[in-house]
């Protein structure tokens, strides 16, 4: 048998204990007082409505700071309290008059919503955070004024009071340790923080203007949409003054969520406010997007991390949602079905907004991408954001060996297979990234750096979605074969002794040497590892982990005991040292062995693999020997007895001429005419520039990688807009160049549709006609461009068209000459016989070309 018993409460001290421990921030005492005042004026209006009385006076709340009396007085012209209500609500902890009023209104009319804030009936407790005694002077309509007093103990007193008008004044007798609140500036700040949008003006002391804004932008009506946007934007800018909004979104979203007590099992609500993509970098994986939350006009908490989806780390804003439920301290929101629905609704809104932005304003979206690429990629790879992925796929910016680059831009200049599919090269391992970027960069192959999470997933999703556009090649996992050119049988035989020497050195077959040709020629040897090899290396580490269960370790070690996957040591047939080594009669002497070991060790380090201790010792010894040799050579040079080896690798030539990169819409014949006009102007007097199509490979295979990349390194980028439609790919290119701050000129054919307004700051020239007319328009646009007119020292580029003009050389011959001797001076200084031999023409033709160039130079 059990019996029901009742909890006993020792009220003495409990009120103060609750007040001082419930709230984290003592400032909230004023929020609670103002909120009670707000509910009181709302209640008065409701009662007047119920009783069909005339409209009550305009709501007003005042806060008076009285330093002399050590009091803060909060007064309202609300409905006041009767004697019975004082006992029922003011003096009963946990009973909320506001809640009861809310329920009564809803019971009478489900369609009516009244913004009442109070909920728990504990707000008055907060007065005891700062006060040792609280007095309430109140007068309800048709009743005498009453004065209630409590010191937070078990008892309170009620006696007749004095108050002329209907309403309530709460008097806080401030404790000595909280006199900092007897400061009107501090009080105004608290009012603005917690009650800015409460809907009732809050006056502090004798101020003529309220301390709060009274209403939020989303509570006002506007004559025009741009006024509404401006008001929301202004709020965001003022609230987050230390940050910059990259894109602002006005929020006014309906949503629904399950509620078993609601008719139909579902409730509806609305989220209002303003969100923005910030310029705040959030590298911390635990970082979240944050919002300042309001519920029923009252501020609940700043920087709430739970309202936005986890991936929306780049968003920040201010939101009001009356369907969210505050916790008892009202500094956060409860995790419930409404919060889940709000988060989902906001996620949909953000995706929708960014999708539209990517479609309508490439420039803005690309800029956002540059700030938040990581988070946007994370979002795009989620299956539920398929539309977003498809919209932004080409605009997504990933890191490459040459800086950030949009995927679409990469593809336009990427290697194309015979079936038209472009190859995307990428790496995922940070440690070996430098090796692969060095190898690929030397061949003019750009590489996406996917060491950041989500980048590889994004590329994979791209290739799966559009297999006809792109195919992936992961360089650091058995994908680097394309970088190594096989040798023909005759040449390969020259390196067989070298391969055999390595086979002898690595009798355990852990390394297999293979000769091939790769760039840069200065690199003698590199190591690559297969996927299997990588996997075994990781398993080695795992098997060595003491925490690994023995039963599993046995199996792993059993597997690892089998033959290992060898590392491949690629020997560069283009490298003079490798050639010399291969030509040696024997590699089995000390010099030969040291050289082989040294080349291997260097390759191992380039792959970012740890060297064994004995290898480190060998390297230091060899390094000392090399330094000694260098010192000896320096002495020989000083004595004039040193001759440079014939096959030393030439230093990379620096480009000393200027080039212009031209981006054209594909398959548009008119753009070809304009391109030809650009060439005829810039390749000729007085400019003598190189003109390249943006998607063409470099004309000079010897150029170092950082110059082998039009349009990123061109002195000027020209975009040609021609044809009946606006080419979106071209728009993207221009937008990206704008953001990168590259010099640009737009040549727009007459009759072409209008260009985006965002291009207003890019120099533009409208062209028309053919032949001389077209060239005149192009020349005019170029002549007015500041970058073309900039004074600087540069050499004249030797273009095929100049060679055709000087000596009637055919285009293909001119191109061959130009590739070997890209500047006038290099051509003039070269031996004519060498030139003739190199490009397979008569020496007389070379002489004629040189003579023609000299005449041209004299004319200039």
């Amino acid at each position: 048998m059990s019996e029901q018993r009742v909890f006993q409460i020792q009220l003495e001290g409990l009120i103060r204990l609750l007040a001082q421990n419930l709230y984290a921030d003592p400032d909230v005492f004023l929020r609670e007082m103002i909120q009670n005042a707000h509910d009181s004026v709302t209640r008065r209006a409701e009662l007047a409505r119920d009783r069909a009385e005339g409209a009550p006076p305009a709501p007003r709340i005042s806060v008076e700071v009285d330093r002399a009396a050590q009091e803060i007085r909060i007064a309202d012209n609300g409905c006041g309290l009767t004697d019975a209500e004082i006992d029922a609500y003011l003096s009963t902890i946990g009973r909320s008059g506001t809640n009861e009023l809310r329920e009564r209104i809803v019971a009478a009319d489900r369609n009516r919503t009244v913004e009442l804030i109070g909920q728990f009936g504990i707000g008055l407790l907060s007065a005891f955070i700062v006060a040792d005694r609280v007095s309430v002077v109140t007068r309800a309509a048709g009743h005498e004024a009453l004065r209630w007093e409590s010191d937070g103990g078990r008892e309170y007193s009620v006696r007749p009071g004095h108050r002329e008008n209907i309403g309530t004044t709460v008097i806080l007798h401030v404790r000595p340790e909280h006199t900092r609140y007897l400061d009107s500036v501090r009080i105004k700040h608290i009012v603005r923080t917690y009650a800015d949008f409460i809907g009732v003006p809050v006056y502090v002391n004798d101020d003529a203007q309220p301390a709060n804004a009274v209403t939020a932008p989303w509570h006002r009506t506007y004559a025009a949409e741009h006024d509404r946007f401006a008001a929301h934007r202004d709020l965001w800018d003022r609230r987050f003054a230390d940050e910059t909004a990259l894109h602002v979104v006005v929020v006014d979203e309906p949503f629904s969520f399950p509620d078993a007590e609601a008719p139909g099992g579902e409730r509806t609500g609305r989220i209002r406010g303003v969100l923005a993509v910030t310029d705040r970098h959030t590298p911390d994986v635990n970082a979240r997007g944050t919002v300042d939350v309001y519920i029923s006009r009252m501020f609940v908490g700043a920087a709430n991390r739970d309202v936005l989806p986890a991936w929306a780390r780049f968003m920040q804003g201010v939101l009001e949602c009356n369907e969210l439920t505050p916790n008892a301290a009202r500094d956060s929101v409860r995790h419930n079905a409404a919060l889940v629905a709000v988060r989902r609704t906001l996620g949909d809104l953000i995706v929708r907004e960014l999708t539209q932005l990517s479609e309508n304003s490439h420039r803005s979206f690309t800029e956002i991408m540059r700030w938040h690429a990581h988070h946007l990629l994370a979002m795009a790879v989620q299956p539920e954001h398929e539309r977003f992925f498809r919209a932004v796929a080409d605009l997504a910016v990933l890191e490459t060996d040459q800086g950030p680059m949009a995927v679409g831009h990469y593809l336009r200049t990427a290697e194309r297979r015979s079936d038209g599919v472009r190859i995307i090269h990428y790496i995922t391992e940070e440690a070996s990234a430098k090796q692969y970027m060095l190898l690929a960069g030397a061949r003019g192959v750009r590489v996406f750096d996917c060491t950041e999470a989500f980048a590889e997933r994004f590329l994979k999703k791209y290739a799966e979605t559009w297999p006809e556009r792109a195919r992936l090649n992961r360089l650091d996992e058995a994908g680097a074969e394309a970088l190594f050119e096989p040798l023909d049988a005759g040449e390969a035989a020259r390196f067989t002794p070298l391969e055999r020497a390595y086979a002898a050195m690595f009798a355990d077959r852990s390394v297999t040497a293979r000769a091939s040709r790769f760039e840069p020629a200065a690199l003698p040897a590199v190591l690559t590892e297969t996927r299997e090899g990588k996997r075994r290396r990781e398993m080695d580490v795992l098997a060595a982990d003491a925490a690994m269960p023995a039963a599993i370790r046995d199996i792993v070690q059993d597997f690892l005991a089998e033959a290992d996957e060898p590392l491949i040591l690629h020997l560069n047939a283009a490298n003079p040292i490798i050639r010399k080594l291969a030509a040696r009669p024997s590699l089995d002497d000390e010099v030969g062995r040291s050289a082989l070991q040294s080349l291997y060790n260097n390759a191992l380090m380039l792959l970012a693999r740890t060297l064994p201790a004995d290898a480190v010792h060998t390297m230091f010894t060899q390094s000392s020997q090399v330094i000694d040799l260098m010192l000896g050579l320096a002495e020989q040079v000083a004595q004039g007895s040193y001759a440079e080896p014939a096959d030393a690798v030439p230093a990379p030539r620096q480009a000393t001429y200027l080039s212009c990169s031209v981006t054209l819409p594909e398959g548009e014949p008119r753009s070809e005419e304009i391109f030809a006009a650009v060439r005829s102007v810039l390749e000729a007097k007085p400019y003598y520039w190189q003109v390249l199509r943006a998607d063409s490979p470099s004309a000079d295979p010897d150029l170092p990688p950082d110059l082998d990349a039009p349009p990123a390194h061109a002195a000027l980028n020209v975009a040609v807009f021609a044809g009946p439609r606006l080419n979106q790919g071209l728009v993207n290119e221009v937008s990206i160049s704008q953001i990168l701050g590259q010099p640009q000129l737009i040549l727009c054919d007459e009759g072409h549709p209008a260009l985006p307004a965002s291009f207003a700051d890019v120099p533009q020239q409208t062209v028309h006609g053919l032949g001389a007319v077209l060239r005149k328009g192009v020349r005019s646009g170029l002549a007015e461009h500041p970058e073309v007119n900039r004074v600087r020292a540069y050499e004249r580029y030797l273009s095929p068209s100049v060679l055709a003009w000087c000596a009637g050389l055919e285009e293909s011959v001119g191109e061959a000459v130009s590739r070997r001797y890209p500047t006038w001076s290099e051509f003039q200084e070269a031996d004519s016989a060498d030139v003739a031999r190199a490009v397979d023409i008569d020496v007389a033709l070379v002489e004629a070309a040189k003579s023609g160039l000299r005449l041209l130079a004299e004319e200039d």
Partner: protein
């Protein structure tokens, strides 16, 4: 953490077996898959066990060991049907592994493959 390193090691074994299968090295693939099955079974991890069994079955099938492949597939289906494994098998890679048998158990023109063999 010990479980995590063990899981990762088994995951690597499964990856190794799949790659060997793809490279037409099914004998080696089967040897690695058998180790993965044993390790996953010892660890008591349904997700890994399903994936290891599916990889083992693929290797067996490529080697023409269809009866053995059938046994492996049946093990996969049994594991998938066991309600105790519902949570563990929610992982997409496990779901794919479970889905594979239904695609694989069909008449094939490959060596040693026939509907009759599967009906044995």
């Amino acid at each position: 953490m010990p479980r995590e390193s063990a899981r990762r090691a088994i995951d690597l074994l499964i990856g190794e077996s799949s790659d060997l299968n793809a490279a037409d090295r099914s004998v080696q693939a089967l040897a690695v898959a058998e180790r993965a099955v044993l390790a996953a079974w010892r660890l008591g991890d349904a997700d890994l066990l399903v994936r290891a069994l599916a990889t083992q079955a693929s290797a067996q099938r490529l080697l023409g060991e269809n009866s053995a492949a059938m046994v492996s597939y049946i093990e996969v289906v049994k594991l998938a049907k066991d309600p105790r494994n519902a949570d563990a098998l929610a992982d997409p890679s496990a779901v794919r592994a479970i889905g594979r048998p239904s695609n694989s158990i069909r008449p094939s023109t490959g060596p040693g493959s026939s509907a009759a063999t599967y009906a044995d």
